[in-house]
């Protein structure tokens, strides 16, 4: 049976969401041999304001490249959460960092709260890799891209000498998602 999995990464500029979307799409398309599209958009106010990246992954050709019913929504601002939560399909996953989204709305979806920024700071030692922690969590929660594929995509983009730091962040995200699911 074929699948189509839609992910939206939303928040504000500077959170590394566009890059996170590219890493997920490259993991799926280049390293896992699936079909993937990745798009980005910025709020009309200014860059540095709202930021959004969408990734669609499928095992077949993708007929339409815009997300319509999200399987997973990562929201890293309350505003983004409120704006996009209605696009989540039933039984989809709303992934938030509770310190940034204090009031996630209830609905027919599953809420997973992972403190990406805190994990990046305390477990990895660099707050900047919060987006890589989020990629790890999405990898674990979606099971739509392989761990090896994402590792390869991360390694293809990070500066030489920072591989260990970034992979540590990625695996911290995977472990945090397992804990959040009680696994």
């Amino acid at each position: 049976m074929s699948f189509r999995f839609e992910i939206r990464l939303s928040g504000s500029g500077g959170q590394g969401l566009i890059l996170a979307g590219k890493v997920l799409a490259e993991a799926a398309a280049i390293y896992d041999g699936k079909n993937a599209t990745q798009s980005q958009s910025y709020g009309p106010e200014a860059r540095g304001g709202a930021s959004r990246s969408e990734v669609i992954i499928s095992d077949e050709d993708i007929d339409y490249p815009k997300a319509e019913q999200l399987d997973l929504l990562l929201a890293l601002t309350q505003e983004a959460c409120d704006k996009y939560v209605g696009h989540l399909r039933e039984n989809g996953i709303l992934l938030v960092d509770g310190s940034l989204v204090p009031n996630p709305p209830a609905g027919t979806f599953r809420i997973v709260d992972i403190p990406f920024a805190e994990i990046a700071e305390k477990e990895v030692g660099r707050s900047l890799v919060a987006n890589i922690v989020a990629i790890g969590a999405i990898t674990e929660l979606s099971r739509i891209v392989s761990i090896e594929g994402v590792e390869s995509a991360i390694l293809a983009r990070v500066p030489k000498g920072t591989e260990e730091l970034n992979l540590k962040a990625f695996h911290a995200g995977i472990e945090a998602a397992k804990r959040a699911q009680g696994g």
């Binding site: 500077g14 490259e26 398309a29 009309p44 490249p65 660099r126 983009r157 500066p159 000498g161």
Partner: protein, 262 residues
């Protein structure tokens, strides 16, 4: 400016077919990307001021970036009106275009419209961008060098590519003085494409004849000398912080920057 053989209509030696940059396009998307570049080749010549391919893909086409990624096509236009006119035109036959944005997204110093194009089976992002004053910078070089001309043979098919593509030295200038560049560097975000691309260009171009004099002359014309020097100094001062302590750069780079504009 240094000569890029492939831009010189009728004067270039026989090129490898397909060109070596094709290796850095995901094989599954290669035909789609090349097909779209071939379609774009037929769309600019009637324009008074054509779009110019800028950004990462321009560096791939000019053989400065040598790694595989899902490349987007960034088209730079001379005005917001030119973006809107292009967006409103009927797509060429066989091309499906989907707009990600409902309207032109206006931000600080930039307006953009994000779309995806498909000819074969894969969607390729094509972003329409207006970003003053950089069009003038790229256009002045395009007027001198002309479009990138390549014949690309893939299997039994041959594609004729003839499109305006930014020169890497102009891309360097655009990126180094971009308003977002200093904040990206100061944040320590070493994975940001601007940081990466500038470092790759410093690595490949620093010892190229004419690079520094071109940068300096062009920066003077556009009143950018201070901004360019400050951008380079900021980047080098934060090299370790950005995670590029092990990235090899030519030994003469510090001296070149030290003398820049003085």
């Amino acid at each position: 400016m240094g000569t890029v053989d492939v831009t010189m209509d009728g004067q270039h030696p026989r090129l490898p077919i397909p060109p070596s940059w094709c290796v850095f396009v995901d094989p599954e998307r290669r035909r789609d990307l090349i097909s779209i570049l071939a379609e774009l080749s037929g769309l600019w010549e009637g324009m008074v001021e054509p779009f110019i391919i800028v950004g990462a893909l321009s560096l791939v086409l000019r053989e400065r970036l040598r790694f595989t990624a899902l490349w987007d096509i960034d088209l730079l236009f001379p005005s917001e009106e030119a973006v809107e006119t292009f967006a409103d035109r009927r797509p060429p036959g066989g091309v499906r275009v989907v707009a990600y944005d409902d309207q032109l997204m206006r931000g600080a110093g930039i307006a953009s419209l994000h779309t995806a194009w498909r000819i074969c089976s894969k969607w390729i992002n094509v972003d329409y961008i207006y970003r003053p004053p950089f069009y003038r910078l790229h256009y002045s070089t395009f007027e001198k060098d002309g479009p990138l001309i390549q014949e690309v043979r893939l299997g039994e098919e041959t594609f004729q590519i003839r499109v305006p593509v930014a020169h890497p030295w102009d891309v360097f200038l655009e990126k180094i003085i971009s308003p977002r560049f200093s904040s990206v560097v100061e944040s320590g975000y070493g994975m940001h494409p601007d940081v990466r691309h500038i470092l790759f260009l410093l690595q490949s171009e620093t010892e190229q004849e004419g690079f520094w004099s071109y940068l300096e002359q062009t920066a003077r014309v556009f009143g950018l000398v201070e901004g360019v020097r400050q951008g380079m100094e900021l980047l080098l001062a934060n090299r370790d912080y950005l995670g590029y302590g092990e990235f090899e750069l030519p030994a003469v780079l510090d001296a070149k920057i030290g003398r820049f504009g003085r």
